[in-house]
Amino acid sequence: SASAAARSVRVARSGAAVRPGGRLVACAAVATKADAPASEAASKSEGHEVLLFEALREGLMEEMQADPTVCVFGEDVGHYGGSYKVTKGLADMFGDLRVLDTPIAENSFTGMGVGAGMKGLRPVVEGMNMGFLLLAYNQISNNCGMLHYTSGGQFKIPLVIRGPGGVGRQLGAEHSQRLESYFQSIPGLQMVACSTPYNAKGLMKAAIRSENPVVLFEHVLLYNLKEKIPDEEYTLCLEEAEMVRPGEHVTILTYSRMRYHVMQAAKTLVNKGYDPEVIDIRSLKPFDLHTIGNSIKKTHRVLIVEECMRTGGIGASLRSAIIDNFWDYLDAPIMCLSSQDVPTPYAATLEDATVVQPAQIVAAVEQICQ
């Protein structure tokens, strides 16, 4: 629809993001390197450059300034400044009652966040690593997700549960988990995954403002991405997918860190003469079937690239949803590239082998487009 096009950010060939009307808003995020050349477009545009964790902090800070009921619960979020610096400086700004250092007790502090939400506050609960929130699974599922329903609508739980997850650099199996696949079945819970500084800030703000409980998935390896974001205030739609690269031959659906593996593969594919359309689905629950459907109606071929496990992953659900809704538009079976169903190994070579690599993405597109 026109409104969706107006809101989604088109990516032009140079890698800079352009809003309809031609005003340059943000550049495609690139990993911070000392010798990375600033693009010509970036130096001419308004806005300010931030790293992804700073964008998250800006969003959180703005919402805390605007609404006194927003508070933060988490380990090391206060005096330490946050293990990934997302909450750095916030304790000094807002005090110890709004930025709360919790003991290492995920089950109870998540439950306390839910209780505070029942009584009208808007807590942001941080898991130092998303994997630790498995200890709070009961609170997230039964209380956070379901209380609105079981109370017949009496209580709302406007919680934001956030934290870094995903496969990092040799963090070991227990610190490399992808909880989006575990949480996706919980009724009542909404899930989004950020991947750029621009969408990180927008999604953080939207999640805090939402009356629903929202899980915001961040990725350990993306916190240092740098991008120019607008100076003026903005939020993003939680349920909307992001068009990263329009194309004609195949729809590649991805999210979080795999977006960058896909874009790397896209360079190779373009050189080989393919024209992939890349969509960052962002909204893991519910899926933006509108944007996804329009893409499938155009390209008729789908590749899903995800970091979570093959079994019971987001890709599995997405595949089902596409088959249910867009079967007649498909010219080829849907392919899904996921991580191996194994605990993430420590050794770097083995770890790389368990996640999807750009070469595999290229091979998959070649196979689909045969």
């Binding site: 439950g111 209780g115 009208g120 039964n142 109370s151 017949g152 009496q154």
Partner: protein, 273 residues
């Protein structure tokens, strides 16, 4: 008079067996009696002050126990008796309905524990918060809930307190600061400490009561929540309703220490009875 089985049901009546069973059950329950007249010898509605000594002394843990002398009035005592009797009758009726399969799923009854919520309500206001686990029917009543809403919820009807979507274990009354009604043993205690956090955050000058049983007393999250509440000085009171059974297992087989009032360690505790 019973209709012959072959006759069609009269228009407007249900032909199903459960409906007829329910109707017969209701006919058997005695009608509510009108309040007794003040002139009756045996029961007084006097509001003259009365001091009663509690039957047992309190046992205290790192706190001075309150006085055993309680100021009350005959009228208040009669009200307690009325409320507790109502609760008892409600629970026994719920038991019968459950056995008649008109209440399905789980039905955890509070008969025998009525004094806990009746006594609590006498000392607090509706601005204070209460949260409990699944033995919640009577607390709903003591927070101002009515019988029809309660039974409607138990029987899955739309006029139930949770619109029939919660059932026995999910009674809530937001306007009376009653936060439920929770199925998972122990999970309500962190929630309750979260309520206390919100009270402190908003400077409300009220307290939160988190009720739990001797079974939940062995849950780790209880100690976690207690630690955080003590650290952050939250207005949280944890109330252990010890009925000596955690599900089907006797207390002495589940708990190394039955002194639940002492388990707070650095947190003051009181053994009431």
């Amino acid at each position: 008079p019973p209709r012959p089985a072959s006759a069609p049901p009269p228009p407007g009546t249900l032909a199903s067996q459960p409906a007829m069973a329910a109707a017969m059950l209701l006919r058997r329950l005695p009608a509510a009696r009108p309040p007794l007249m003040a002139a009756t010898r045996l029961i007084s509605d006097s509001t003259a002050p009365l001091t009663i000594e509690t039957s047992m002394p309190f046992t205290a843990h790192i706190v001075d126990p309150p006085s055993r002398d309680v100021a009350t009035t005959p009228a208040e005592l009669v009200a307690f008796f009325h409320d507790m009797s109502l609760m008892r009758r409600m629970e026994i009726a719920a038991d019968s309905l459950y056995k008649a399969k008109l209440i399905r799923g789980f039905c955890h009854l509070y008969d025998g524990q009525e004094a806990v919520c009746a006594g609590m309500e006498a000392a607090i206001t509706r601005k204070d918060s209460i949260i409990t686990a699944y033995r919640d029917h009577c607390i709903f009543l003591s927070r101002g809930g009515d019988l029809v809403t309660a039974f409607a919820e138990l029987m899955g009807r739309q006029v139930g307190c949770s619109r029939g979507k919660g059932g026995s274990m999910h009674f809530y009354k937001k306007d009376a600061n009653f936060y439920g009604g929770h199925g998972i043993v122990g999970a309500q205690v962190p929630l309750g400490c979260g309520l206390a956090f919100a009270q402190k955050y908003r400077k409300e000058d009220t307290v939160s009561f988190s009720l739990y049983g001797d079974g939940a007393a062995n849950q780790g999250q209880l100690f976690e929540a207690l630690n955080i509440s003590a650290l952050w000085k939250l207005p949280a009171i944890l109330v252990c309703e010890n009925n000596h059974y955690g599900m089907g297992t006797a207390e002495w087989r589940a708990a190394k220490s039955p002194s639940y009032y002492k388990r707070g360690d650095y947190v003051p505790g009181l053994k009431v009875i």
